[in-house]
Symmetry: C2
Subunit: 149 residues, 2 copies
Amino acid sequence: MGVSSRCAVAVHALTLLARDGGGQLLTSAEIAESLDSNPVVVRRVLGRLRDASLVLSSEGSGGGWRLAHSPQAVTLRDAYCAVEEGPVLSLHAHPPSTSCVVGRNVQGVLEEEFTAAEWAMRERLGRTTIADVLSRVLAGDRQSTPQGP
Amino acid sequence: MGVSSRCAVAVHALTLLARDGGGQLLTSAEIAESLDSNPVVVRRVLGRLRDASLVLSSEGSGGGWRLAHSPQAVTLRDAYCAVEEGPVLSLHAHPPSTSCVVGRNVQGVLEEEFTAAEWAMRERLGRTTIADVLSRVLAGDRQSTPQGP
DNA sequence: ACTAACTGTAACTATGGTTGTTCCAGTTGG
DNA sequence: CCAACTGGAACAACCATAGTTACAGTTAGT
């Protein structure tokens, strides 16, 4: 199946909020415009980031979303864990037969191995911060459209 | 979303075939019985393993499936790559807006990071062989139901 | 040659999660 | 009081998976 695109949306939104030194206050409509998506979809994802204390939301007129921490302090792992629940690698849809040695014990082994594999994936995601992403995003623009003095 | 359970089915089937030193010849019906599932589902997964040269199939009466290599030579990574195509971590459902710096460049950065994270996951899966799984499966049975002399 | 036992594959259903959308209640600032 | 937000429910469209049935093709044994 593959994991949902929520993580990509989350990193995208966090990167937007990280501009200007992290002091940006943006509405879900503004973020949705950059994503070419829907404000409700954005609020769904940002709601999870808020539950994980990665962003803060303020209601009412003039409200919106802003980072809860500095862009250097938030990693892709934080974003991933905030929006994606449950294991990536699935065990059997059905529990296997208990009248077979393999059926009785394979799920325990698989759970250990899959957990270790996912830990490795998250560990790698934890090495990159939103600040890293932002600087590379900006560098990409400088490469393709060099600016004069 | 999470990844399909095909990898769990594949490892289960490979472990069954690895018994008896790897010389087992099993039918899809026998494997399906251990999985408490359907022979067609099993053949779908084992078909991918065969395309990846992990198992061999023989048609006709007396036919079935057997390992193409020794259980020590096949890792969970091999099984995973054989049955699971495409990236685990998805980029945006839509391409983002090109009129925004982040929208223009974030997908490239995400692709690099996600690829690295998935590589880390597969690397970890590559450290465990089917022989490892089999021995742990058998050990699990010895623990819970100790046998006399 | 016939039959039984397999694989290989197409077609179909049911299910569940995600995405996108509309709608409305609640909150806030001017 | 109004305009601009968030919060959240409800719903449709879509897609992959898991499971099932059905059938064609292949092989071994008699």
